[in-house]
């Protein structure tokens, strides 16, 4: 199993969810995060005082899928959230050792 963590533009969340649902990915965790990549931050001005905002608001979307579906899910996700501009975000993929469904102790892929 792999965990797919995608840091994306907040405005793209709905589209990402739709696409994932359409290919049968039901489990999804979303959090509001702040950060920056190479894009760095932006500048805000309040009564003439300029402030560099280093950390930009992003959405982090996490889902765990069977290893066999990794490339399919990533491809769908990338297509859904890409604008081609700087700041589109990144996707991180990692191995998941085990899963436990708390309700009934189901383990591994059957707990997805």
């Amino acid at each position: 199993m792999v965990k797919i963590e995608a840091v994306i533009q907040p405005s793209k969340l709905d589209k990402a969810r739709e696409v994932l649902q359409s290919i049968g990915i039901d489990g999804l965790t979303v959090s509001e995060v702040r950060g920056h990549g190479r894009q760095k931050g932006h500048r805000e001005v309040y009564r003439g005082r300029e402030y560099d905002v280093d950390f930009i608001h992003k959405i982090k979307l996490e889902t765990v899928v069977p290893s066999a579906r990794k490339d399919e899910v990533i491809g769908a996700l990338v297509e859904a959230v890409r604008t081609g501009a700087i700041g589109d975000g990144k996707i991180f993929v990692s191995e998941v050792v085990d899963i436990v469904r708390i309700r009934d102790d189901a383990r591994g892929e059957s707990a997805l």
Partner: protein, 414 residues
């Protein structure tokens, strides 16, 4: 008049409280709102005990006597010296609301760093040292600057340009300098935590200002209407002036700029509302917007004083400009209360052919500034003898909400 009084109170809470609290960081939101709210409570009691008497009782040219101590004799019977058509008590409660908002305005200059106890004590002393004498001089019967009550130097101050905005604005600068900067100012970030709250506050201030200025006619009269109109036009022009200046300098008109400009226009027209025609008010507003923008950006940046919420830049400078502009634009076509010996309305400002009025306005402003500076220093010194002014570095980092009041403004968990 009672509705006007309620409107003016609405300017302090929620108006000013929201306007200010949105401009500070999240950890100081309650502490900032409490500063305004505390004035609503504390100054009210002070006003009842002796404040009203010291301002509006006959006395010497600088202060009233104590005949209205504990509001004795302030009842249903009108006071013909001020407002012959409304109960004396109505006049008293209306004027109280001005005494509340004035020290509340100052708190913006030392936002995010002063102890609650020190703030309350300073404000009470400040009322005695600055507000009561200035208000008596300008509005009290026989006051030194009272144009309509036999003053030596007749100053036109319809709704408190000198009494409220010059005193609070210049006192604010003194407090900001005396108390010192916030930790990390100016190189760290001091980003307003919610311009939405500030927006709501500014809009409430705009609406409340109708009570402030139009109500100062003290009757449901055509003078009240013209003050209302001048107020509104100046606010609009102030917003446009600030936005235009910003657009030229930075390429963008901002929301904070728009509301700051409106407040600047309102503060600046306060003195002249009730004396000036609508398009004079527009000129006043435009000047206010551009001038105050220049003050809070270029001048503040140059001198690096931490007038956190720009009380000096907006109210002090706007009030001062408004005082002088009233000397220019005041006209008998709007206000014909002052009569010549032959019974005809007296010329008021420069456009009426009375340029000497500018000198009177300047003297009035000078007295307001002088008393503001000296009185504020005295109030700060005395307060400091009793209790520290500046929060410790640790308390500042924790925020006023938690370290001064033991609460937090936003508890979203649970």
């Amino acid at each position: 008049m009672l509705v006007s009084a309620a409107f003016v109170l609405m300017m302090t809470g929620p108006g000013l409280a929201l306007f200010y609290c949105g401009l500070v960081r999240k950890r100081n939101v309650l502490g900032t709102m409490m500063q305004s709210f505390a004035m609503m409570a504390v100054i009210t009691l002070l006003w009842g005990v002796c404040g009203y008497s010291l301002v509006f009782a006959p006395g010497n040219p600088f202060l009233g006597d104590l005949r209205y101590l504990f509001l004795r004799g302030v009842g249903a019977e009108p006071n013909p010296l001020y407002a012959p058509t409304i109960p004396h008590q109505t006049f008293m409660i209306y004027q109280l609301m001005f005494a509340i908002i004035t020290p509340a305005l100052i708190t913006g200059a030392f936002a995010e760093r002063v102890h609650f106890k020190a703030m309350v004590m300073f404000s009470v002393l400040w009322a005695f040292f600055v507000y009561f004498p200035t208000a008596h001089m300008v509005w009290g019967t026989g006051g030194f600057l009272n144009a309509f009550g036999g003053g030596r130097v007749p100053v036109f101050d319809f709704a408190g340009g000198t009494v409220v905005h010059i005193t609070s604005g210049f006192s604010a600068l003194v407090t900001a300098l005396y108390v010192g900067k916030r930790v990390g100012y100016p190189h760290e970030k001091f980003v307003p935590h919610s311009l939405v709250l500030s927006f709501i506050g500014a809009c409430l201030l705009w609406v409340g200002w109708f009570g402030f200025n139009a109500g100062s006619a003290l009757a449901a009269s055509s003078l009240a209407t013209s003050a209302f109109v001048a107020t509104h036009f100046a606010a609009a022009a102030g917003a446009v002036g600030w936005m235009a200046a910003e657009r030229v300098r930075k390429g963008q008109a901002s929301a904070l700029g728009a509301i700051s400009g409106a407040v600047a226009g309102l503060a600046t027209v306060t003195q002249g509302a009730g004396f000036v025609q609508p398009f004079s008010a527009v000129a006043i507003g435009l000047i206010a917007g551009a001038l105050c923008y220049f003050m809070v950006t270029t001048v503040k940046e140059r001198f690096r004083y931490d007038d956190s919420l720009d009380v000096f830049g907006v109210h002090g400078v706007g009030g001062f400009a408004g005082c002088l502009l009233t000397g220019v634009f005041a006209t008998r076509a709007v206000n014909s209360v002052l009569k010549l010996a032959n019974g005809r309305p007296a010329p008021l400002g420069w456009i009426d052919g009375n340029p000497a009025q500018l000198v009177n306005q300047l003297i009035g402003a000078g007295i307001g500034i002088g008393l503001g500076v000296v009185g504020t220093l005295a109030a700060l010194k005395i307060t400091e003898l009793v209790t520290p002014l500046h929060m410790t570095e640790g308390e500042e980092a924790t925020g006023m909400d938690l370290s001064l009041h033991g609460e937090e403004g936003y508890n979203f968990e649970g």
